[in-house]
Symmetry: D3
Subunit: 317 residues, 6 copies
């Protein structure tokens, strides 16, 4: 773990810490001297850094997207904190703890994965159970699932976010189906488990969360249908209709064409999966919004939802 994060640097403070280089630009001063402007990031945020001495020499030693060790001093400039750099050298990725550079879920991924597996192992449908076990047995998939974020957006791109959301959704499904008859709970649970599983390939998340080319050009819905198809082929006598119903949950879970679902939900389970997926995401997003200003009952404006939210402070009583 890093000893000092970007957001904690103070005026005049001496700094010696690791960062990820998000941008690197060369400049020339009026007097003709070369200098570097670097954007350094870690999970706490970002800081602008300037190299005024040995800029050409130091600049040759690293590039954008490298991890670097930086020594220098904090400096307030026009009301913003800057870093005046004395030394900057590239360090190998293996020397770096990923958690220092990407925020992560407050929950332990191992515990979440265990809980997710124990819920799925309660399923009575032998075919879906076999499919779940085939997924659990795929070490690479499980490794990625422990780590993958839930989304790219600046606001919730945290490691294990995909797992946290999938587990929360599955627990919600268990409760909601108690209120109704005639719902195929096993199918719904597998939908909760797999509906976003394609995100493990839609994103890169070793340094910062970003879309892969395949993620951008095909999307996680299409990618996870291919993934599930392959897993099902390894299971003898998996019923064709069951495979169809499961894949339908995946392609329709965004609930509407304009959100990228090529098909509308056309089973009662698909309708429920979309609705609860949407609700679980919204509750987390609203509860994690910062305040509009300190002490305000109103949150900051949420772009995607097009509004601020009022916090009912009585709720904590």
């Amino acid at each position: 773990m890093k000893s000092l994060f970007a957001a904690d640097i103070r005026d005049n403070q001496l700094v010696d810490s690791m960062f990820l280089v998000a941008a690197k630009t060369h400049g020339v001063t009026k007097t003709g001297n070369s200098y570097l402007t670097i954007k350094l990031i870690d999970k706490s945020g970002e800081i602008e850094a300037r190299v005024w001495e040995r800029a050409d020499e130091l600049g040759r030693g690293f590039d954008k997207n490298d991890f670097v060790r930086v020594r220098g001093q904090g400096t307030l400039y026009q009301g913003k904190m800057q870093l005046r750099v004395q030394e900057v050298v590239r360090v190998d990725e293996t020397k770096v703890a990923a958690e220092d550079f990407l925020p992560k879920s407050v929950y332990d991924p191992e515990s979440m994965l265990e809980e997710l597996q124990s819920i799925l192992r309660t399923m009575k449908n032998p075919h879906l159970l076999a499919l779940a076990e085939a997924c659990f047995a795929d070490d690479e998939l499980m490794r990625l699932l422990r780590q993958a974020p839930g989304a790219k957006t600046i606001h919730h791109p945290y490691l294990s976010g995909l797992l946290e959301h999938s587990l929360s959704l599955m627990k919600l499904i268990v409760k909601v189906v108690e209120n109704y008859k005639g719902i195929d709970v096993d199918l719904l649970l597998m939908g909760g488990f797999l509906h976003d599983i394609g995100k493990v390939y839609e994103f890169t998340f070793d340094r910062a969360v970003d879309y892969t080319d395949a993620g951008q050009l095909l999307g996680h819905l299409v990618m996870e249908v291919e993934m599930v198809t392959r897993k099902i082929e390894t299971i003898p006598e998996f019923p064709a209709e069951l495979a169809l119903l499961l894949k339908h949950l995946l392609v329709s879970h965004h609930g509407a064409y304009e959100f990228g679902s090529p098909k509308l939900p056309q089973t009662v389970e698909a309708v429920i999966l979309h609705s609860l997926d949407d609700l679980d995401g919204k509750i987390q997003a609203i509860q994690n919004l910062p305040e509009k200003e300190p002490g305000s009952k109103w949150t900051a404006f949420h772009r995607a939802y097009g509004r601020s939210f009022y916090r009912n402070k009585m709720e904590a009583q």
Copy 2:
């Protein structure tokens, strides 16, 4: 209870039963004789009836929207069942069982009301508890709540439908909030109880479900805000902010401007109420859709949702 319903009349069967007159038209035959065409309805559906003899005399005795006792005989005409009438006389509304003319919930309204009250009596918030008790003490309101339908549309206009939906939603709320922290469950339960309560005045439902003028011109959202405001005025020291949060649940529960909510949901409770209200309605609607054709896995087309639904027959296993 009626002995014979419109949908059960067979060719040549003798009929002596009560109906509601939905339409009455005079006609004249080629040969100059007067006759009556009447549309008779009860909760099973409708049947066309013809009065060929004493049409003028019998026609003077009743009007559209009257209950009538009809004697006659079933007759197949061009593939459709008709009723050839011998006698038709107006009967007083008090002689008629409303349940014969409007379908009703399969659940007993008394039991549902008791369960709804027992859930609300678990609330810890003394102000909301007092408000709930004030509603329970309003005999007229409780009488209407036992009867009111959930909607007007032809497909689900059944007595006690409002109560059935509100109760189901409240039970769903109880389950869903267990999955999250920091939700004001008492506020949400009152929202579940009151979100559609204005429908008791939005509709008439003594003979058939229809909009009142006030229902059409103001709508149940605005009407129930007025109703709740009056009830709150009877409760000493009801906190102003709590009243505001409760009324916000009512005005925003349709979730979007285009569905008639003048405000978007702006609290986490308002977001949850809208989402679960919508989901509970959809599950009931989908599960009650008739089949496309006998034996089909597909349901009839649902106009409002713009699709048919596929029935997962495995779900019943």
Copy 3:
């Protein structure tokens, strides 16, 4: 080939021909006699038929979706032609020529397939060429491609319609790319060939064109991605990026989310494919529209395009 089609039957004409049973209903006359109402269809349209004699006996011998041989006589009833049936017996599907029951393209499927293959064999990209040959070598796929219709809608559901449209689109691509530099013509040609290939499984078209369950729940975009993935797996060293670009053409070819594309076109080839696919469909649809009324310069109203079209009669000069 049938000797007499539904649309050609005249008043009093004696009929002895094959039809597909689209609906069968039992009725009872006022006098208590059983009769059958049958809807008979072939590629020319439909005719209503009535069995007044031996209805129960004849009715037991066939069902909806069966092919039948019918003997009877044409009868004008209330301005519409009916068929009064003397004899109706089920015939085996193998005795029937599919072309009698589904309209088909005016072009020969063999010739169209040959032309399509010869265009694709001009490709220089060895990987795409290998993929094309793998498709040509799949006898089942080629058999379905020769037959599959282009769409289900009542207006153009004709056999070999898919092949006709794909070929026309590929020929259009060849011409259009001549006008621009830097377009990957081989990729575009494969996109033209494969963009609708999933329709061979999206529809059934042995008796009438209808959606399969998989077609309804997944759609041809998702199904053809799976199909192409499997074919690519059989070709050694197929470049991953090329596979990605090809699959992107498939998932984005409807051009917009609201038309069921989960991704927007994001390469210049995807933009061109969507645009020309749309244009080719529109030209055919407009040119095949019937006249509003005999002699009119205006066509019948086209529902999907929301307008009638004016025919420029000078164009033929």
Copy 4:
């Protein structure tokens, strides 16, 4: 009245005037000295101020949203006027003239209110007349109506704006109804008077115009229905249908769901009220738009209307 406004401060000018503190931030200079950045506003606009000396001591004496008396000197910095502060002390609200901090209508509120009352007193409907008098007799309501702004937006938030708009709309109604028969002019006039009256509680406007929590969560439509309902309860024998028609004018006056009306206009009066309300607002907004650049015939771009407007200079001739 203030002697010097923010917009009038010049380079090097000595300043001694009252302002409202819109923001206050502490900073630290490179050399470790504390300083304050303050945003000061009055009705003319805003100016940034800096306290470089005794910053901690002076900063303790006032807070955001306080009125302050400031002494200092104007200073041009990077092309923008700044205020370099020597002294800043909190002053009590009672020492301050509200008109100095909020722009106000060019018309006198007393005269406007008198004209509004004299128009309403021409009504022939005794019930509506009684309702109007009940409103006039409510001193608190009249006090707020004299002051309330017409909107919050930065561009026209001026005191008495609500009164100015309501009066203009009522005068327009009087003229328009002369052109048609069968319009209930008294109902329309009351609609013009009351359609925005809820804004007196939707906004705070003692220091700057902002939404109240109730304004944000319920909106002026719902709030004014409650207000009117209470007033009507004080009037004996007010006809129920008349109350319904009046409240319908209020809930529907935004004219469309997407503008926050829970009901569409469903009477001819509601259609007229919405149309003229919209037109009166637009004419004022367009005529008050600044020029795109000095001398241009085009106005600045109007965000809400999505366009600039061309000024017909001939119109003044």
Copy 5:
């Protein structure tokens, strides 16, 4: 004027009157006899007629869109009035009064035209006055303006409807501008006069109202710009900017792209013209809607506005 209209024909009544043939179809009875089915219309509505005798002979004598003199007898058939025809012969158009076949305005076109002219002659702008006089001097244009309908739709296609609407709009403009300063009233009045003038060529209205090909392919906005351009060319020294502003009123008067205006209103006059044009049309449409059913306070459903309207019966007091 006709002695008997289609809507007034009674059972067994003898008929001898003129009609317009809207449709003509030949049929053959079961017994092999030829007969004719004709749809006859006049301004009161339509009636179906049958020719059972001498059908071939009589049928040769007239065609669709001809005026005919018909002799026969009214007959009630399945609850609908029919006409059993003995004699039907084509009559020349010159023998027919157009007003019998198209409904017309309740106002006299001569008086309306005079009032319109006297309003325009109050204009102070000499160029616009000259343009108005140039239009008045165009006898063909004035002849068409006296007759042209305001729209094609089934509900208000009445002769002189264009003149009635234009005059009402101009009178409304005169009143509205009194409420504001700085509006160019002469420009607005000419906009009111000319905004729909292209409809005289957009429609045919000699027998029934229908679109011309040019009306369908170009529309009245574009056609009237051409017409006004030609008229302006005849007036010496007409200012270019004034011509531009006037034409802008025409192209923008539908107010939005989706209603066929290629430009949004970009002057205050264009905003006012669109708003009042829309309001005048709506008031007339609402006031002319039939009742939902006899005695109801609700009107029939208005398709374009998507609602029924509630009639405030107190308004007449």
Copy 6:
């Protein structure tokens, strides 16, 4: 041709070149001295310039929109290049080469115009041929067509852009019609030639591309209909229907109401013209997009299309 462009000025470089003045503002320094801030542009972009000495004297000699000769020195200020001006004097427009101030097509306008004419001279329709020749004979029109840009937007406002696009579209039309029967190619070619011809009057493009008042208030669709109408009037016996069909191509070529077409395409030629016009524009726009960042396969984000594009680098092989 200029010796030095704005984008090429380096730190400390001496400058003596011509520019267009896009903005001019007077300022006063803290010490009371007058200075000028000027925005200078040429086709390479813009540079900010400051006049610190003799500001009042020099400032009187030129104005916004003047061409000026500037002498001074490049200066890096806060990372951006500025120009410190010693001398600035107005120069006459005639001394300036327009190509230095507006980017232009890479193709020679003379050659493009010749090719366009030779294509149109292949037309068989004598009326359209005569219309084309009438346009070619209009020297003023041809002069403007050689120069006019294709659009105003900052990204592709280059001289001769209109000609380049029209020619490319006509060549595309020639190829596409080979794939279909029954298309009126001559009509389509004239549509390709004239569909944007109104842009020669919609824009000014002598110094920078901007809308004229008429362009803003009427738009090129309406303006080119007027232009074509006048040209047609000079040709004897031009068929009315042909004129109508040609003008329909112009008014409908944006393809949808929301893009400013007052009529939808209603002929097969209008559908084709809109589709190919749109495609030709998109291909050019995509191919000219800059990279997201150096070396990236993704382009910069395209605002109007709402996405970035992926470049298939294999296409160049």
